[in-house]
Symmetry: C2
Subunit: 152 residues, 2 copies
């Protein structure tokens, strides 16, 4: 069941990204009511387009659980996942995905495509979007505003 407190933690992680000039996205994985793994966007620092916040968190969760199947795990992320991250959640068979702001440019949960459409793949993920969307979106828009200001 969705709980604001986990999205608040994902938001705090997103803010840490902004501080190191990384597009601010944060993710946490929750199991049995506890955070078992966290991730921040690491793309620029690692120079690797695969290192999105969700991928970092999912990989760590697999280590913690000791299984590729993340049964009973819920993903909280501040931005609607892209196809890569949404696909990873299907592959890892997470139970649920709660995301913040919608991403009209590359969101894979309805904005551009919907990889979670019922019956499309052989695993069902409960999905809910727009949670604390205003706060989650603001972290991103402030980041890009500051970046543009610095350029001028």
């Amino acid at each position: 069941m969705y709980d604001d407190k986990f999205m608040l933690r994902a938001l705090a992680l997103a803010r840490e990204c902004a501080a190191v000039d990384e597009v601010p996205v944060g993710a946490v994985i929750v199991k049995d009511g506890n955070i078992i793994a966290e991730g921040v966007n690491f793309k620029e620092r690692a120079n690797n387009a695969l290192r999105h916040a969700e991928m970092e968190a999912l990989s760590r969760a697999a280590e913690v659980v000791g299984n590729w199947w993340l049964e009973g795990c819920e993903v909280y992320v501040t931005l609607e996942p892209c196809p890569m991250c949404a696909g990873a959640m299907i592959n890892a068979r997470v139970d649920a995905l709660y995301f913040g702001a919608y991403d009209p440019k590359s969101g894979a949960c309805g904005s551009k495509v919907n990889l979670f459409e019922e019956g499309l793949f052989n695993h069902y993920v409960e999905v809910s979007g727009g949670n604390m969307a205003e706060e989650c979106g603001a972290v991103l828009s402030e980041f890009f505003k500051t970046k543009r200001a610095r350029k001028n």
Copy 2:
């Protein structure tokens, strides 16, 4: 431009997977006519659903190139990529994708969804499927046949 010799290398990598009881999929990344990175399916060994052959190869290519943008890079993989791997190729902005066998269960290049549909995302990838499809498919079907036989 597609060249059989790179798919043959991906096939050899797939066969290595089968030998260690991993679903046999192999991938190579080609730049300027040379293989710059390779990957094999590592899911069972790492106990991590994210470690598909393509992801392994793409991550290594980013290290080799020293950039998240895999400009001028072509992916050869024995099986049609899933949404995670197809999404990763879009994120890394590879030039082209050549795959072998189609995957009716989770292929993201037309079989289940088509993430490479023109104009869907802001990066164009040249895609061609069914290259050496018979050989690529045979490695998989032999693997599952042997697995079933062992169970009985």
